[in-house]
């Protein structure tokens, strides 16, 4: 018998068989009901983690409750950022397939998680009593302490007496265990506090009566256990028949995959704490049910990493990194380039760095605005493109006007509507006079000062390291790992390369994939922006889930005329090149919203829908873009594939950028 089975049986016996089924605190009562699946093995194999979706079933409402220290705590404070199992119970419960079942299943999960640090670090279990009269904080504290003892004892023995679980007079302080799931008991001061919570969670609880019609201390209730995600959404509700550790753990892992938690990085806690995406998340803002999920600025901290390795050994799926002969990548140049990239003093009035438009956690683009905003708020007509994998691009900028990173660097620094420096010389002299740059250029460039050549070479060296691949797709396609990519994404790739013909422009080769043909195409987005007639009014969002229609006259009265945008034509002056824009790589595409050269499509679903409809027809639209006739399911699969293109080093690169000081004017 395996260790686990011993434990399972131990718990099972301690709670049920050994004492003819007893409540947590020992009140015995006869039962003849068959034990639920949660007590033993599943009759079927739990669906594989990541092979299915867990829809959002609702919003986990907030509540003020008390913990076993009699401290008031809020559900949301506890739920946020964690994966939570929440059950409602009472300790006098003697229903074999009620509260004791949950207790056993939670105990088994806790035990299983000891072998799975990803689960242990991310999951918490909360047992909420609906019997505040009996389940006081003091009473529950004994039980909670008993859990710890039980856990400790289970390491050594399968036998345990249920009474021992509440042998809690000892007030020993237990250090938090990092390798086990946190399991807490909660209660309320009164039924008045409790009932609204039960209503919010649809938890029906009816006191049972004895023959005399008095409450007998038992409750009739429906077993419901809630799985809640870090964004406070209910993702599953388990009843008796499905409350099983295998199912729950796979559900949990499915959710963690959705959130991008990489199990292989479980030991690397600082990367676990990196959120990929805006710290000021507005996911769900379209709805009145939006709830904030904001991160503090002061906790935006990271750890420097060796970026040179991404040049010397590019991640799986990427070819050798092209490096100009006159600018070999070195550690000193990378560090200097990174310092420059995050330095706001590189703009005329010390307010805008490269990283202000290319925000690391926002995919090195900016999720918060469709088109960029530059010096003194001046409008930039296009979306800030990501700089992931730009080392491989033969054409830079959306209109393809530049040919190398070294050339590209100066343009934003001198553009009147970006960083607005009036001349090369102003930037060069400024850097030569900044104390914190003393010696850095000389060290990186064999004694050369900051100059017309060395400044872009340094920044380009940093950008050339931001190579991101070894995505689930790469591991599946190039690494031949069968389970690296979920089935829906595999179906999506078949469409990508087949029916949808995305691959015609977003190239994939036998040995590597850049997902771009390094060419330019007219999809119709640019044409429409230039040629469309103004609507009479536009829908404007004014608060979560709240919109107003604003007359176009009003919008025009407070807006400057938008700058014209003719795409690649601005480079070649060839009318055939009007509204052609560069094919972006699709690597990390799930991280680089909003999409298209003008940021006009907010989600991958919108992008796929756009192409499914054949883009926007115009006389010189690329013939490669045609209606695709994809079904809804096919479009979902295509999106699933696009979401499988996130590189495995994204958190590491973000963490590295967080560790880089932001250059601001200082008197020191």
């Amino acid at each position: 018998m395996t260790h686990l089975k011993k434990i399972t049986l131990g718990i099972f016996f301690s709670i049920s068989l050994s004492t003819n089924v007893q409540s947590f605190d020992g009140a015995a009562g006869p039962q003849t009901i068959l034990p639920a699946p949660g007590y033993g093995e599943l009759d079927f194999e739990a669906p594989r983690a990541g092979s299915y979706k867990l829809p959002v079933l609702g919003y986990a409402k907030n509540a003020k409750v008390i913990d076993t220290n009699n401290e008031t705590v809020s559900y949301h404070e506890m739920f946020r950022g964690k994966y939570t199992l929440l059950n409602f119970m009472y300790t006098r419960c003697d229903d074999l397939n009620g509260c004791p079942l949950t207790h056993v299943v939670f105990s088994r999960i806790k035990e299983l998680a000891k072998q799975d640090p990803t689960v242990a670090q991310n999951l918490q279990m909360l047992s909420m009593s609906f019997d505040p009269t009996y389940d006081t904080p003091e009473h529950l504290k004994k039980l909670e302490s008993g859990l710890h003892d039980q856990h400790m004892d289970m390491d050594h023995s399968s036998g345990h007496d249920g009474h021992d679980m509440q042998h809690g007079d000892h007030q020993m302080h237990h250090e938090p265990e990092t390798d086990t799931v946190n399991w807490k008991y909660l209660t309320t001061h009164s039924e008045e506090e409790l009932f609204p919570i039960l209503d919010d969670y649809g938890q029906s609880v009816i006191p049972k009566s004895d023959d005399a019609g008095d409450d007998d201390g038992n409750f009739s209730h429906i077993l419901r256990v809630f799985l809640i995600d870090p964004d406070l959404k209910i993702r599953n509700i388990y009843s008796v028949s499905f409350l099983h550790p295998d199912i729950i753990i796979n559900d949990l892992k499915t959710l963690m995959m959705e959130y991008g938690v990489d199990e292989s990085n479980a030991q690397n806690q600082h990367l676990q704490n990196i959120r990929i995406g805006a710290g000021d998340s507005k996911a769900g803002y379209e709805s009145k049910n939006y709830i904030t999920n904001s991160l503090s600025i002061q906790n935006r901290q990271g750890k420097e990493t060796d970026l040179l390795k991404f040049v010397e050994n590019p991640p799986l799926g990427l070819p050798e990194v092209p490096v100009p002969a006159d600018n070999p990548v070195t550690e000193a140049k990378i560090k200097l380039g990174k310092k420059l990239f995050f330095d706001r003093r590189l703009s005329l009035n010390n307010t805008i760095s490269c990283a202000i438009c290319h925000v690391p956690e926002q995919g090195f683009t900016n999720h918060e605005i469709l088109t960029a905003v530059g010096f003194e708020g001046r409008s930039v007509k296009r979306n800030a493109p990501t700089i992931y994998n730009t080392a491989y691009f033969k054409k830079l900028f959306h209109d393809g006007r530049e040919t190398s990173l070294e050339h590209q660097v100066w343009q934003p620094m001198l553009a009147r509507n970006e960083m607005a420096n009036p001349s090369f010389g102003v930037v060069i002299e400024k850097l030569r006079n900044l104390e914190d740059y003393v010696g850095l250029f000389e060290a990186a460039f064999d004694g050369q000062q900051a100059s017309f050549e060395t400044i872009p070479k340094a920044i380009a060296s940093y950008e050339r390291t931001l190579n991101s691949a070894n995505s689930p797709f790469d591991r599946w396609y190039y690494g031949k790992e069968k389970d690296a990519m979920p089935p829906s994404a595999i179906r999506g790739f078949d469409l990508f390369a087949g029916k949808a013909q995305c691959i015609a422009c977003h190239t994939v080769t036998e040995k590597h994939a850049l997902f771009t043909d390094n060419s330019l195409h007219n999809t119709g987005i640019g044409w429409e922006r230039a040629m469309r007639k103004d609507p009479e009014s536009q829908r404007v969002q004014v608060a979560p889930g709240r919109y107003v229609n604003v007359k176009n006259d009003i919008i025009k009265s407070v807006g400057n005329q938008q700058e014209g945008d003719l795409g690649h034509y601005e480079v070649t002056q060839d009318p055939a090149d009007r509204w052609k824009y560069r094919t972006p790589s699709l690597r990390n595409v799930a991280l680089t919203a909003p999409y298209m050269h003008d940021g006009s499509l907010g989600t991958l679903e919108e992008v796929v829908t756009f192409y499914n409809e054949g883009g926007i027809k115009n006389e010189i639209q690329s013939p490669l873009i045609q209606p695709l006739n994809l079904t809804s399911a096919e479009m979902e699969d295509l999106v699933a594939f696009l979401k499988s293109l996130n590189g495995d080093n994204v958190a590491e690169i973000i963490s590295d950028s967080f560790a880089t000081p932001i250059g601001d004017h200082s008197k020191n």
Binding site: S74, Y290, S294, E368, G377, P544, I555, S557, G599
Partner: protein, 467 residues
């Protein structure tokens, strides 16, 4: 001469520095005899006890207009002065910094003025010669000192200190931000980040939102309460307004919260849901009136913040301004010293509206008048009879073309006849000054001074004579 007349004559031009307690009791009970000061400043502030002599207008430079720089424009506003209604003095500060709000230190000797773009804070000496403020110090390391706070917005006087709200940060130029404390001497003290979900700092998130955004600040010292509101980050407040209205991502980046703080410890206590960018905060002055108002810019709602029955505070929508579906964009508003009225400006239609707030739960529209295109700020005299108006909202949010007018106007309000009449107006474009933004009042009487200039010598004489 009777004793009372003698005292009246002697006291009239004298500075009264009053504690918050005095300010909220003695001074206010004696309101009929106190004539002027704006009603929206810190209760810790020294008060003027006579006609204001000057209005300092923190003005945005406009590229290609005059010297193109931000400037402090000093307007002579004492009717007794020869240059009444004219610009007395201009101090340019260099560059366009997105000049926005300013505020005095508690002793009212210095006026601090912030730049939302460049993060510079300009400190003017306004007591050596109130007619000619001089720039004595520029804080230009605000961002690095504060740990990344961007967009110093509203300076608020505390005893011996200045507490700044801000709008943004140096990491994503979004709306998460902090409060920043300085000494009156301009030394950085501390940064207090607005609570976010991952770090509520002990505050209670009472609803759905904890966005970490900031904007205005007011305090109720008698309740040890400090209140902040929320707007938007650099990317939005610097963006072309028309562009932003069409940017569906940008429109998600507005504040939906107010934060109740422990004034003494600067610790956040509660995060309240107030949707639609709650901007200015105006707290009641009456000793028993423990409530404040805010008005939401995007949703045009009047919101009352008052104590609940659980020892905390709550926010409740008690009215709307104009037709919210027209996006009137209510911006600045002023509260009268007797807590009977608020004056609300709407940027889009250039209208000011007076609401009777005698019942704070039911504001009633009492007066409505068009003042001029794109009015933004309003400053009220203590007796609620003189209302000064200026225009600019933000450099890139102001109207373009014909509607982009920039002025300062003085209106007289007669509460008896409920009429409002213009006294003077200054065209800030015609004078090559720029965009007129926020106003603060100045007076010789604050410093026991006499007028130095011939131009208002007669005025000063008139002030010191018994009428």
């Amino acid at each position: 001469m009777k004793v009372t007349q003698f005292l009246k004559k002697k006291l009239k031009p004298t500075l009264r520095i009053l504690s918050p307690i005095l300010a909220s009791s003695v001074l206010f009970m004696a309101a009929p005899t106190v004539s002027a000061d704006e009603t929206c400043m810190s209760p810790y502030m020294a008060k003027i006890s006579g006609q204001e002599d000057f209005v300092y207008v923190w003005t945005l430079g406009v590229e290609g207009l005059g010297d193109g720089q931000d400037k402090l424009v000093t307007v002579s506003v004492n009717p007794e002065a020869d240059d009444y209604g004219k610009v007395r003095h201009v101090t340019s500060v260099g560059g366009r910094n997105e000049a926005h709000h300013s505020g005095f230190t508690d002793d009212r000797k210095y006026l601090w003025a912030g730049g939302l773009d460049t993060n510079k804070i300009f400190i003017f000496d306004v007591y050596s010669d109130p007619a000619k403020p001089t720039l004595v110090k520029t804080i230009d390391d605000f961002v690095s000192k504060t740990g990344g706070v961007v967009g110093p917005h509203t300076p608020y006087a505390l005893p011996g200190r200045m507490l700044w709200t801000a709008l943004s940060n140096n990491q994503d130029h979004g709306g998460r931000t902090a409060l920043v404390e300085y000494t009156n001497e301009g030394e950085y003290v501390d940064t207090y980040w607005i609570p976010t979900d991952d770090n509520l700092q002990g505050a209670e998130k009472t609803g759905q939102y904890a966005d970490g955004y900031g904007y205005d600040i007011q305090v109720l010292p008698r309740r040890n309460m400090m209140l902040t509101s929320s707007f938007t980050g650099w990317s939005n407040y610097m963006m072309d307004f028309g562009q932003m209205l069409q940017d569906k991502e940008a429109m998600k980046r507005f504040g939906n919260t107010m934060v109740v703080w422990d004034l003494h410890t600067r610790q956040p206590k509660q995060v309240l849901d107030v949707e639609g960018a709650p901007l200015e905060i105006r707290c009641a002055w009456g000793a028993e009136n423990n409530y404040c108002f805010t008005i939401t810019a995007l949703t045009a709602e009047i919101v009352l913040i008052e104590e609940d029955d659980k020892g905390g505070w709550k926010a409740e929508v008690v009215g709307t301004v104009a037709n919210p579906s027209d996006v009137p964009l209510p911006v600045d508003f002023s509260i009268s010293s007797d807590d009977s009225m608020i004056w609300v400006n709407t940027f889009m239609d250039g209208t000011t509206r007076g609401y009777d707030i005698t019942d704070p739960h039911n504001p009633k529209l009492a007066h409505e008048q068009y003042i001029g295109e794109q009015i933004n700020m309003v400053s009220s005299s203590w007796d609620n009879k003189r209302l000064y108006y200026t225009t600019s909202l933000l450099a890139n949010w102001d109207h373009k073309g014909e509607k982009d007018v920039q002025f300062m106007k003085l209106m007289h309000w007669d509460p008896e006849t409920k009429t409002m009449e213009e006294q003077f107006h200054i065209d800030f474009y015609k004078e090559k000054l720029g965009r007129a933004h926020q106003m603060r009042f100045g007076a010789y009487s604050l410093y026991g001074k006499q007028a130095k200039h011939e131009s208002d010598a007669d005025a000063q004489l008139a002030l010191t004579q018994e009428k």
